[in-house]
């Protein structure tokens, strides 16, 4: 009887140990998963939002959503696409939620100004372009990013943002012109 009880207790400990080990292994796997994809998700959010602090919040939200369905996602080949789509949707939702605030406080009509590079690091052309994208007005930046980085068509962008096709085309054109001016200056 005692032997049986001891056996079942040891089995219990073994199983509990296995459970803890499995949880730790899953944690480690998820950590590796974040390391692999964090730059991509952060870039998508930062370019759409034009704000690194908000982008960090959105990236966190994306990975928490990914954790909720990690068991289905980890073996999927479409995981990168899924993360990009979620990051894009959450970033656009974030902008829409604060649209009134953005309109009120942003300088939509004002010309885009980028300070002259101060450090060696900022002197990098790619960083200048990255900074210029962030400084574009919301409408131009979001359309331009969806077009160039997410490979979406004009029609898809118009449907996603709920605006006319003509507005998408104009915004992308204006955004590109502003970027060219800033880079060639």
């Amino acid at each position: 009887m005692i032997a049986a009880a001891t056996l079942s207790l040891s089995q219990f400990h073994e199983r509990a140990g296995c459970g803890v080990d499995r949880e730790m292994a899953e944690d480690e796997e998820f950590e590796t998963f974040i390391r692999n994809y964090q730059n991509m998700v952060f870039s998508v959010s930062a370019r759409i939002l034009g704000n690194l602090t908000d982008a960090e919040d959105i990236t966190q939200e994306v990975f928490i959503k990914a954790y909720e369905r990690f068991r289905q996602l980890r073996n999927s080949h479409a995981i990168g696409g899924w993360l990009k789509t979620v990051a894009t949707n959450l970033s656009i939702n974030h902008l829409n939620r604060y649209r009134a605030r953005w309109r009120f406080f942003s300088e939509e009509g004002a010309p885009v100004e980028i300070a002259a590079p101060e450090t060696e690091k900022e002197n990098n052309r790619q960083e200048m372009l990255e900074l210029a994208i962030r400084k574009l007005p919301d409408a131009q930046r979001v359309s331009l990013v969806l077009f160039h980085f997410q490979d979406m068509s004009y029609e898809e962008i118009a449907a996603k943002l709920g605006v006319s096709l003509a507005k998408v085309k104009t915004d992308i054109h204006r955004g590109r012109e502003t970027l060219k001016q800033l880079i060639t200056r």
Partner: protein, 141 residues
């Protein structure tokens, strides 16, 4: 044949590398994830659906309110013979509340007529205050 609309900017944009995620991101996500994993299953189930739960509760409240208007609660409780004495107080209290709300007059207005705009105004004020705080917090961020 090359696309005439494509120019050097396309090439520059295409060559842009991913941005470096902040170092604080990974610990933040793992902390939140571990906190979430420790929560009970039903909390995990409800947490992401807070808006849905709130709407459901609002719907139930409106239904109860509708039922109260259709079925007189005072009469309903007084008709049940086996209710304990304490519960028998309910129709009495409801009767008093009804009398106060409908029959007591302040400057020719019933208490209910004055109470409803006061509730609506305080609700509007609370929403306004909350959105102002949220906006200021966002701007500061």
């Amino acid at each position: 044949m090359s696309d005439p609309n494509k120019d050097w900017l396309d090439a520059e944009l295409k060559n842009l590398r991913d941005l470096e995620a902040p170092e604080t991101l990974l610990p933040r996500v793992m902390k939140t994830v571990r906190q979430q994993a420790r929560k009970a299953w039903w909390v995990r189930l409800i947490d992401p659906r807070t808006d849905l739960c709130r709407s459901f509760m609002l719907g139930v409240s409106l239904l109860v309110l509708g039922l109260f208007l259709m079925v007189s609660p005072a009469q309903f409780f007084s008709d049940v013979p086996v209710l304990p004495a304490l519960l028998k107080l309910i129709p009495l209290l409801l009767g008093i509340a009804g009398t106060v709300l409908f029959q007591v007059k302040i400057y020719h207005f019933s208490v209910l007529t004055l109470l409803i705009p006061a509730i609506v105004l305080s609700y509007v004020f609370l929403i306004f205050a909350a959105s102002t705080i949220q906006r200021l917090a966002g701007v500061r961020k």
